[in-house]
Amino acid sequence: MKPPPFEYVAPASLEEAVAALGEHGDEAKALAGGQSLVPLLAFRLAAPSVLVDLNGVAGLDHLGADGDRLVIGALARQRAVERLPGLGRRCPMLAEAVAQVGHVAIRNRGTVGGSLAHADPAAEWPALALALDGECQVVGPRGTRTVPVEDLLVSYFTTTLEPDELITELRLTLPGGRVGSTFVELARRHGDFAIVGVGALLGLTSDGSVALARLTLIGVGERAVRARRAETLLEGERPSDELLDEAAAAVDEAISPTSDLHGSAGYRRQVARVLTRRALATARARAEGKEEGPDGQA
């Protein structure tokens, strides 16, 4: 189908973009990569009367490391992140997750800010942000605020952003040292939204016990979640096979999957446990230097 009529404005600066959103309130929508919004328009599931195109806004697509932080402008394309040199070695979880977002043509347009704001419960970026202590910079008519992604995500396609607020930047912390990570998914075909996806990161002390554990899951409820009790089980302990089994079983209480045509809730619980166990084994092998991450170039 074709999108319904709308008015189109293309601001050149962030101030103008925020002003345009403020002026039209609920009637207006920001347009970033359009890879989620335009299908919604085509299906007539959204019918904003004004589209505020962010693509011409200067200074929103920056991308770069700042110490152990990775700073990603909201308009940076997912493909640009994927092509960061050395990403696969620095943070395998990030490289593997981004390569599983849709297809090359989708990632060429789709933005990091758009994915966070869209808050699809099966999207990779919210989970990455949870695993890597992500925080967003949010700008609106009342000023600038910093929002941890944990507090941004609410439920299916719902965030705590006001209609006149924009995400301008995502900041991730990439832990260093003896760290291993991965992102694994079950999807019908390469590029499809995950039925279930799991990100795992383990940091080890010099004597080999777990100093840092991160487990995030997608496709298992109304939003991306961190499995905090499973993380606590791991931290301070030796990452034995038995402990990984136990941690994988513990993700069950963090998730609330529902049934749909791709799988029942019970199936998703089962897949979540199996994928978590595999992801933990890979993260452990990488942290111990027994396995390398992807080379980061698709």
Partner: protein
């Protein structure tokens, strides 16, 4: 909504036309510019039939509005071979290896392959399948498409001359999406 003027370059030619804000780039190419080589299957980003190159990068033309292409450089399937000349090596390879049957999906595949071979002149099967995962074909079963891409890569490497990044196929745009 009022129509607005749009100026852009398609396959190296400067063109102009006008469109309402809600007109997609795909409809603009087909209906306003008469470039019907770009096909439309799903109109919501899933099938890949409408794939074109925008500033050197593959994009879904059904998920862009025509107004957003103001001033940009597009490549469509019409730009691959000269009207009176031989087929482009990628097209030749698709023909020789039966990489198409009905041909509906083919323009989208060809444009995705342009980007792939510009990024990597010698891709392995897994990489080919990953790059083409966003293009659906209901006829071929993909096997022959993968073979065609491998053959096209070989032809282009043999032809040398800067490989598929040569200006006729996939110009690396300045400031294109993904850099």
């Amino acid at each position: 909504m009022a129509r607005r003027e749009i100026e852009l370059r398609v396959n190296g030619r400067s063109l102009r036309g006008s469109a309402e804000p809600r007109t997609t780039l795909a409809d603009f190419l087909r209906d306003e510019l008469g470039l019907t080589g770009t096909h439309l299957g799903c109109e919501h980003g899933v099938c890949g039939a409408c794939t074109i190159l925008l500033d050197g990068r593959s994009v879904r033309s059904c998920l862009l509005f025509a107004l957003q292409a103001q001033g940009s450089e597009l490549r469509t399937v019409e730009g691959l071979a000269d009207p009176d000349g031989p087929l482009h090596p990628i097209q030749e390879a698709f023909s020789e290896h039966h990489g198409l049957q009905c041909g509906f999906c083919t323009p989208g595949f060809l444009m995705s392959v342009c980007e792939l071979l510009a990024d990597d002149p010698d891709p392995g099967e897994q990489e080919i399948r990953a790059y083409l995962s966003g293009n659906l074909c209901r006829c071929t079963g993909y096997q022959n498409i993968v073979a065609a891409v491998q053959a096209a890569a070989g032809k282009l490497r043999e032809a040398g001359a800067g490989g598929p990044g040569g200006s006729r196929v996939a110009p690396r745009g300045t400031g294109g999406p993904g850099g």
